[in-house]
């Protein structure tokens, strides 16, 4: 009985977070802020639903699969965000008007695809330049 309530609670809350992720992707102003919504809320939403699945079946193999899926999401979602963000910079993405600083701008080498670190990491460069 309690397990049933817990299962219901986790899947509804998980779906709620997924809806928040979708709303975020729709409403956020630029690529980077949209990725915030998908990585965090997407991982938490799918993770909660998988916890619900593990609770509902309460058996070894299902638990192992659920844990594997959660671990996989936690490992891959940030990496996906990193590669897409990087590609966005090479495509010349435009940031939201209210973005305050962009210290990454202009640090990619377009020819060799390497990324330089700021000349002095203690004092931030004047990164007001926007596309």
């Amino acid at each position: 009985m309690i397990i049933e309530w817990l299962t219901g609670f986790t899947i509804v809350v998980g779906s709620g977070f997924m809806l928040v992720a979708a709303l975020g992707v729709l409403r956020m102003p630029d690529l980077l802020t949209r990725m915030h919504a998908t990585t965090k809320a997407g991982v938490l939403g799918a993770g909660l639903i998988m916890i619900g699945v593990a609770l509902h079946f309460a058996s070894g193999p299902v638990l192992a699969k659920a844990v594997a899926i959660i671990a996989f999401l936690i490992l891959t979602a940030p990496v996906a965000a990193h590669v897409i963000g990087r590609a966005g910079y090479f495509m010349g993405l435009s940031l939201w008007d209210k973005t305050t600083v962009d210290e990454l701008k202009g640090r990619y080498d377009e020819a060799t695809h390497t990324l330089t670190s700021p000349p002095d990491t203690d004092t931030p460069p004047d990164g007001q330049g926007r596309a």
Partner: protein, 157 residues
């Protein structure tokens, strides 16, 4: 590392002896193996370090899921309310993590904690570029991420 393998071996022996291959029994076997290692081999440095690490690791997992929940509530609040309260920015943070594995784990955890998303590591591996949602005080943001990084490295090293 060798201590972890021993702990898993003890767990498997427990499961084989009791004859029930279920999740609670595996967990019980792990706890028993941990206690045996902690009591019997507490004078061997390799094992003593391991015994200290396991509670730290469990504490870290708890801390991590708490942060994940907080970050989601914050983003959810901003998504659901009609006006955006964000002042996003991209900043560079000097890294203490050295090896590829450490940098990967630190960057992934930063992506999953409140308001920060790791974008890229400089080619010389000195700096991590982050996108921050609420960049009001740059130094405060860097200090809190540094604290997270120190916590991760404490578990890893």
């Amino acid at each position: 590392m060798i201590a972890l393998i021993w702990n898993i071996a003890l767990m498997l022996i427990w499961v084989a002896l009791t004859g029930s291959f279920t999740a609670p029994n595996l967990l019980l076997g792990f706890v028993l193996g941990y206690l045996i290692l902690g009591l019997a081999l507490r004078d061997t440095p390799e094992f003593a370090k391991y015994v200290g690490k396991v509670p730290k690791f469990i504490g870290f997992i708890g801390f991590f899921f708490w942060e994940l929940l907080l970050s989601n509530l914050k983003v959810a609040y901003d998504v659901l309310t009609p006006t955006h309260h964000m002042c996003p920015g991209v900043i560079a943070m000097p890294l203490d993590a050295k090896t590829d594995g450490e940098i990967t784990i630190v960057a992934n955890l930063i992506s999953l904690t409140p308001g920060t998303l790791s974008l890229d590591v400089s080619s010389d591996r000195k700096v991590l570029y982050l996108h921050v949602m609420y960049l009001v005080d740059r130094d405060a943001v860097i200090r809190s991420i540094k604290a997270l990084e120190a916590r991760v490295l404490e578990v890893l090293r």
